[in-house]
Amino acid sequence: MTNRERVFWAGNETIAEAALRAGCNFYAGYPITPSSEIASLLSLRLPQLGGVFLQMEDEIAAMGAVVGASWGAKSLTATSGPGFSLKQENIGYAIMSETPCVIIDVQRGGPSTGAPTAPAQADIMQARWGTHGDHSMIALTPCYPVEVYRETVRAFHLSEKFRTPVMVLIDEIIAHTTESFDIPKDNELDPVHPRKWYQDQFGENSFRPFYDFFQGKHIHITGLSHTEAGFATTAPSTIQRGIEHLVNKIELKQSEIERNDCYLLDDVDIAIITFGSPGRASKAAIDTARAEGIKVGLLRIITFWPFPTTTIRTLVDNVKAVIVPEMNMGMLRGEVERAAMRRDVKLHGVNCVGGAPIEPQQILDKIREVHRGL
């Protein structure tokens, strides 16, 4: 008996199906290109499976509904740039109230309305810093269809484990590309029961108790700084403990969360560091450059936040130059520079923000140029 099922799905369809695989039983959203197919598919599938689909009056309300529903359900919303901006305040509420939920951001050109049907990767800093206040963030940036499936499921698992909103950032190319692939069926993808999981982990990943609504428990949920009982406090030591908890529960567990894809990275002169869909163009460029005798390899970041600082520092210390292709003006490049902690590192960007994907030839040209200068 085969352990695999071959499908022909677009990225948005893959996300919807993966969410159901993870046990998602609540979706609230407001349609926005290029994410709308996720809502469209779940509006059919969730009611069939006994779940709830809500189209709310706007993006803000949709995020509010997701936060509320998460106290009893596994919740999802999907959006794109302008909607992602509107959701930020309620994402902060989810962080502060330690409410597990998953947010899909299908990145399109911005700022503002921007280029709704064109790909971009310029929300990656907003994912980390879009809401105010000290906190950490988990954001995943898959590339290939099977990875989109796995990482969407993993987003639900991580959100339950760490009691925090988890983001999956793809772009218009991934969302709208329909492709043949095998659905993985292994145990890693089995749903985890949120409350049981939480009770097992209590005290480690949760500052205060977490019970479903309507189960006979007294619960108090607030966006104010609060005590371990869930009630507002102004006591500096308690507030300090709470905020340190929000940051440390993720930052100190980086090794559990970090995931990268490495390609031909042993003994390289030039490292390409990228995330999301430019990973495919990068691999194609590397194959051509390798055939020309250039020692170049790829580190593709799958867990973008928390940022793989140590992994990148180690890599940069062992190469002569780094190329960072990304569909923004240098957001990842800045993080790589920060991680490297070296002023002499040769960092080269390939930055496309016009709505066209980065082509292998553009990366290959940069590899050759950098190689000539070594």
Partner: protein, 190 residues
């Protein structure tokens, strides 16, 4: 071997649907297939294209870099998406809709696709099926019977028969067309 296919035109002509069905047929044959549409925020009338990649091996870069088959139904789409062609690319245009062509090494099939669709099934809405017939006849990528099966499976209910008539019209019209050197068309465009 990697095969690269692009259908282009304006929104509502059914070009994206044609690409979806080619990719679906290839997937049904057990090949690795990928289709990726490009369109604008306009509901109708904006330039659209669909890129289809078919390969026995896993597909790397998901967009086209060296096109094997290009069918275009609008001047604006030709200007935007008529790139990445190689000398041996099979190129089809509707000469009523693409009238200005720049020089190049390819040979181009001039097929009045919209007109042929109206003649075959009266409504231009079946243009995508005519395009598929042309594609199947000119390329050996998808066998005719596989394409027909895919149309039967995926055409909206009540439209299968007309889609198949349109498909056969596209298949048949190819035999009456001889490709013209692109340079000659470019001279005539000036």
């Amino acid at each position: 071997m990697r095969t690269e296919i692009r259908f282009a035109g304006v929104g509502s002509q059914g070009n994206i649907l044609a690409g979806e069905w080619v990719a679906q047929a290839a997937h049904n044959m057990g090949l690795n297939a990928l289709q990726s549409p490009t369109y604008t925020a306009q509901v109708r009338g904006g330039p659209t294209s669909v890129d289809v990649l078919i390969d026995k091996d896993p597909i790397g870069y998901p967009r086209l870099t060296s096109i094997d088959f290009f069918l275009c139904l609008a001047q604006g789409a030709w200007n935007l998406f008529g790139t990445q062609l190689k000398t041996e690319s099979v190129v089809v245009i509707d000469p009523n809709l693409v009238t200005k062509v720049t020089p190049g090494p390819q040979k181009i099939y001039l097929i009045p696709i919209i007109q042929a669709t109206k003649q075959a099934v009266e409504k231009p809405v079946y243009t995508s099926a005519v395009s598929l017939g042309i594609f199947c006849r000119l390329m050996s990528t998808i066998p005719q019977e596989q394409m027909i099966r895919t149309i039967e499976q995926h055409a909206p209910s009540g439209t299968v028969e007309k889609n198949l008539i349109a498909f056969r019209a596209g298949w048949d019209i190819v035999s009456s067309v001889t490709p013209v050197p692109r340079d000659e068309l470019a001279m005539a465009s000036v």
